[in-house]
Symmetry: C2
Subunit: 426 residues, 2 copies
């Protein structure tokens, strides 16, 4: 057996069920890893090891609580917790104590998962980074805004973490840190108790180290009995979507994706080029105005009462942008987004998934949280489920993800295809 902190959630569950380990031992292994690495990685905003170990002992002393019994997890610090502070990545809310757990936290705990702490987020899940570094190369960005969630899972501090996505806040850290990032069909997983950045775009995100863990955790967060995803009966039909931004990808990323498309065709998949209508490129504009309009209204109290405690980059960027957006422009963008959603539904009817870039390339040096956002924006605005798989390696031995996309509501088909793809590419 690997070190306990390196197990996937599904392996943890089985090992505890079989009596090969205990919740306490798994928790201690994760806490030891954190103690060792946290000074460099900076993935956590809040930890309470003593409380966590006590909870682990309580789990060990009781009956099996649910399908994640004894699995340690972390949640992005824009998600409310009743027993830990929630600061939204802003000094304005430092030490704030919500009255209840967010829906996703309560559902995780109901399943027996053990909350280790709150992971670092960029300020208000936006552009200004926290202190997290990429655990694979401390000179590089982990990606944002779910920086701590991505880094903690990548560094074997926890097998599961919850992030969110409004632009590419799950896809990006997954690709940069070399873990799996799942962004569900918009609307499926409840965001009650999670700070709204831009409700028309926001979803939760799951960061994990195996597709099976994503499948399991999604069912837990849906509040339904878990169901395995079975292997495909036949090789999938794959649309290879270079996106309108193909020329802005690093040349090695283009090579890696073309190589993957060829390898999947070689393994039996039907692979064909899938071209988006050219007006889909406008979805980056839709994203800009929808997110700016909504964020600047959602944060009205902060704008009016705490403006001087907001970072300059956020103030002068998306907030000012959004405050200047007219309602007519916002409404036009909502309507454009809906038209594209319906068009994409129709065009996805004769493929099972799309294969697309998850990032322009490896994580850049420095701590810039949001390079090349156009890679994710189309899918975020289109409300489709996507999963990012850590299947490529760039010229600096850093991971580069491949993004798979399915039709809205077809999250389970996405998982089945992701398992097939992963097994053929790794």
């Amino acid at each position: 057996m690997s070190a306990l902190n390196e197990l996937t959630a599904s392996q943890v569950v089985r090992a505890i069920e079989d009596g090969r380990t205990t919740c306490e031992a798994v928790t201690r292994a994760c806490l030891e890893r954190i103690a060792l690495r946290e000074p460099q990685v900076g993935a956590w905003e809040y930890l309470d090891p003593a409380q966590t170990i006590e909870e682990a002992r309580a789990l060990d002393a009781g009956p099996r609580r649910g399908p994640l019994h004894g699995v340690p997890f972390g949640v992005k610090d824009i998600i409310d917790t009743a027993d830990m502070p929630t600061g939204y990545g802003s000094p304005i809310f430092a030490g704030h104590r919500p009255a209840a757990d967010a829906a996703c936290v309560a559902l995780s705990r109901r399943a027996g998962a053990l909350l280790l702490g709150k992971t670092v987020t960029t300020e208000f899940a936006n552009i200004t980074p926290g202190r997290t570094r990429n655990p694979l190369d401390l000179t590089r960005t982990p990606g944002g805004s779910s920086s701590g969630s991505g880094a903690a899972v990548a560094d074997a501090m926890v097998p599961l973490a919850i992030g969110t996505q409004t632009t590419g806040s799950t896809t990006r850290p997954a690709s940069f840190c070399g873990v799996i990032g799942y962004r569900p069909t918009w609307g499926h997983l409840r965001t009650a108790g999670t700070m709204e950045a831009s409700g028309s775009l926001d979803t939760l995100g799951i960061l994990a180290r195996s597709v099976d863990d994503v499948v399991l955790y999604r069912d837990v967060l849906l509040g339904v009995p878990p169901e395995l995803v079975h292997a495909l009966d036949a090789a999938p039909r794959i649309g290879f979507c270079r996106t309108p931004f193909w020329n802005q990808l690093e040349p090695y990323t283009r090579d890696l994706l073309e190589g993957a498309a060829a390898a999947l065709a070689g393994a039996g998949a039907s692979v064909r080029e899938f071209e988006l209508p050219s007006h889909f490129a406008q979805l980056t504009e839709a994203h800009r105005w929808i997110s700016g309009f909504e964020m600047s209204r959602n944060l009205a109290w902060v704008v009016d009462r705490r403006w001087d405690q907001v970072s300059e980059a956020f103030r002068n960027g998306r907030l000012t942008d959004g405050l200047g957006c007219t309602f007519d422009r916002y409404r036009q963008m909502l309507e454009l987004a809906e038209r594209c959603r319906l068009e994409l539904d129709a065009r996805l009817a004769d493929v099972d998934i799309l294969l697309a870039p998850a990032a322009a390339g490896e994580a850049p040096e420095g701590w810039l949280p949001i390079p090349h956002p156009w890679v994710y924006m189309i899918w975020t605005v289109a409300h489709v489920p996507t999963i990012t798989l850590p299947v490529f390696t760039g010229p600096n031995r850093m991971p580069v993800g491949a993004q798979l996309i399915a039709r809205r509501h077809e999250d389970r088909r996405l998982f089945a295809c992701a398992k097939w793809v992963q097994s053929r590419l790794v």
Copy 2:
């Protein structure tokens, strides 16, 4: 001039601008009305007259703050306030102090509106009523869930109040209390800081005593400069929609609606029967499963940690219903709802508005909060904007509303038509 507490918001703004009164005088008039009537009506969950008068004086001492300068308002107690407790209508959260104002509260205050207090909501904006009575007849229900908001506006305690709507929680108290109730196109008005009941259905709602006030307040809540709605150039094209539930309305309600359709045709409107496809009746099922599925997940912390403090009616009703809903059923209902939305968009292309019932009849005796929910459900699930006008009187001299409905995003067209309709019916 009427008594200050009886003025509409637009009248208050003008009277203060013209120097005919002050913010303090208006506030005192509202507080006096509340002191007189609150023991019977029970519209308020929280009031702090001393703080309010101090704020009114500060407004009087400063420059004009915005388009609602000096207008007292109330907000439903599922909406967060930084300086007043927010209890969500549940003993579980009694005394809870949020860290920030909800978006709608901050935007109101930015415009110079003066928060008088928190209005009574049913428990978690659901079925179990608070103590509010109908101010027009204390033996009757005010309607829920925005009970206090409807009653406070009807009783001239405030000119404006914010409610919410997940089923008919704005339309119903508007019809029962004889005020105007506006439910915006889903998604337009930010609900950040407002308890999510069922995100796929939730909107804010505005309770007011004039259509102009609704127009003004909507712009404030959108965070855009206010723009008047001008009179129509030509009489509107009206679809008379009896709904699939026509036979369940009180006979006098059917007569009142038919009389209104005839009167509007007589005044020059093009009025034609507008029949919904029969499968729209299934939207009541869609409502049941979508709202149940989402509410039961959103309240996971309450379900797991405070179940014994939840009312029996809610526990045994929507919560148990929702906890038992499978994901497949939920997903099918989401897809049905979207299909009907698009179908309704298309069918509304050749009318300006629909005329439809807002309630089965007058407010019933007793305190049942949700009789006849099917009247509102179709429109709520369809995400269309609706406005309820207090244009009818029932056999017991209680008000009965007429509901006008427009295409999604056509809220301003709805207002222009509502002004035309109101002037022809009153």
